[in-house]
């Protein structure tokens, strides 16, 4: 800590009285502003709400979906899509478009996945094949057990 001089008129080195009080006052105001701002900024950031991670869900029943149709289902908190292909296979993907977070749909006329928001296209392996999507859709594993179509996180 610098020695505090009581007389600024001496012109000596170190911190004069005026300067000292400027720093104390300025620092005090800055600390006050910080003390107000910090809780405000923290208040604006929502607290994380942990939820049980879903790793398996029954998406549909066998026979519910005709070939070349699809069904939306909820996987955890996110929308997902189950597709019964023309070839009779079941495929499941995250329905969240990798471009800007829209929800995709199955187009039976194109026989692939489409996002209406910005005209993004994905094939039946989830690969982005046209439009702005930068990466493929997340694919899930599909298994048929009894009459249930079960989707699990790959």
């Amino acid at each position: 800590m610098t020695e505090i001089k009581t007389d600024t008129a001496t012109g000596g080195s170190g911190m004069g009285r005026r300067r000292f009080f400027d720093v104390v006052l300025g620092g005090g105001i800055a600390a006050l502003a910080g003390g107000i701002l910090y809780p405000v900024v923290r208040f604006m950031i929502p607290p994380e709400q942990p939820e049980a991670a879903t790793s398996m869900v029954v998406a549909a029943k066998v026979g519910e979906l005709a070939p070349n149709t699809s069904k939306m289902f909820r996987f955890g908190k996110d929308p997902a899509i189950l597709i019964h292909t023309d070839a009779g296979q079941y495929r499941a993907f995250s329905a969240i478009c990798t471009h800007l977070d829209c929800t995709v749909q199955y187009r039976d006329d194109l026989k692939h996945i489409w996002c209406a928001c910005h005209n993004g296209h994905y094939d039946l392996s989830g690969n982005n094949i046209a439009g702005p999507p930068p990466t493929p859709l997340a694919q899930y594993d599909v298994a048929v057990r009894g009459d249930q179509i079960i989707v699990t996180r790959a």
Partner: protein
């Protein structure tokens, strides 16, 4: 005699306390230049009128609107179908919002082409440009409030774009949405922004903008000689013309709201796919359409990020126009800036039309 006396007494009483005569003096001396481009002087006032309609109808809507994911759609439905004149108040709010943004754009371009931003009016331009940005913020936050399908996806896309910003993007996205996803928390947050935070900021800049206009008077375009240009008194000549325009605008607003009441659409369903033909409100369409055309990757840069960088730079350039156009500061015409203005207008029109016809 005694009545006149009393009026004078009240006048003197007020003057001693609030300096009324100085304000009166200022108002009586305010003049508006008259020349062939004077018609554009009315557009700022027109934008202000729409803003006042927004404040008034917005306060009325607050009496019934409920800002939660469970109740928002139903409360707007209730306003539209059950509340007496509810359809009118809500439609006025929507129509006036769109007209306000339209007039703000036309006002901005007219100011741009008349070079009214040149010295000493740089701060008037900057406050105006910020008001335009705030208007877009009003439009974006208000759009979600009815909690319908179109608004839900518009908000998902609009906020997801924030997440693309390097370093602080993720943080901004969570703050904007009130969580990782667009949920009821987002709706409540947008409501607070729409009815409290934005109005507070906008009121500040609006008062600043108007005070600067009062202080500096109306700008005269380069070439229309200021000294020789005839002018009319603001009170009552220009003010009465303004009021006639506002009355006409109110008539048009009521007509539009009656013939084309604003749609409500279907309630947002987080599980449903985005409907075909989805697009944002018209004033975001040119940006939306641009995002459609940019491929996923351009060289090594993410396509969306490229779009965001482009529009951010555009916005920054817009705010800095008075400092970029050095010639206007010297009262010289700048053909380059006129050309840029027209290219931007053409770009906005073409891309907006494309978003509607595609």
């Amino acid at each position: 005699m005694s009545q006149q006396n009393r009026r004078m007494q009240i006048g003197t009483w007020l003057d001693e306390r609030i300096g009324w005569s100085a304000i009166q003096e200022l108002a009586m001396h305010k003049r508006v230049p008259m020349h062939r481009h004077s018609i554009w002087y009315y557009l700022g006032g027109m934008t202000l009128f729409c803003f006042l309609v927004q404040v008034f109808t917005g306060i009325l809507l607050l009496l019934y609107y409920r800002p939660t994911a469970e109740a928002a759609f139903e409360s707007v439905e209730f306003i539209m179908t059950d509340v007496p004149f509810g359809w009118l108040v809500r439609s006025l709010h929507s129509w006036s919002a769109n007209l306000m943004i339209f007039f703000a754009f036309v006002h901005m371009f007219s100011v741009f082409f008349m070079r009214a931003y040149r010295r000493p009016r740089e701060l008037t331009w900057i406050s105006g440009a910020l008001l335009l940005v705030l208007s877009l913020g009003f439009g974006f936050s208000g759009y979600l409030l009815p909690w319908n399908q179109l608004a839900y996806f518009a908000t998902k896309v609009g906020t997801d774009i924030l997440g693309e910003i390097p370093l602080i993007g993720e943080w901004l996205l969570v703050v904007a949405r009130g969580g990782e996803d667009v949920t009821g928390a987002t709706l409540t947050r947008f409501f607070g922004v729409h009815v409290a935070i934005l109005p507070m900021i906008a009121t500040f800049f609006l008062l600043l903008h108007l005070a600067l206009v009062q202080k500096q008077g109306m700008s005269v375009p380069i070439g229309e000689e200021y000294k020789k240009a005839p002018s009319m008194p603001f009170l009552p000549n220009f003010a009465v013309r303004d009021l006639v325009g506002w009355t006409l605008a109110l008539g048009i607003l009521v007509l539009l709201s009656s013939i084309f009441p604003w749609e409500l659409g279907v309630k947002a369903d987080p599980l449903a796919p985005a409907p075909a033909g989805i697009r944002p409100e018209w004033f975001f369409c040119f940006m939306f359409q641009t995002l459609k055309y940019i491929p996923g990757k351009v060289f090594f840069i993410n396509g969306e990020l490229l779009g965001i960088i482009g529009f951010s730079l555009g916005g920054l350039a817009l705010i800095l126009v008075p400092f970029l156009d050095r010639k206007a500061g010297r009262e010289e015409r700048n053909v380059l800036f006129t050309a840029i203005g027209w290219v931007v207008i053409l770009y906005i029109i073409v891309f907006t039309v494309l978003a509607y016809v595609e």
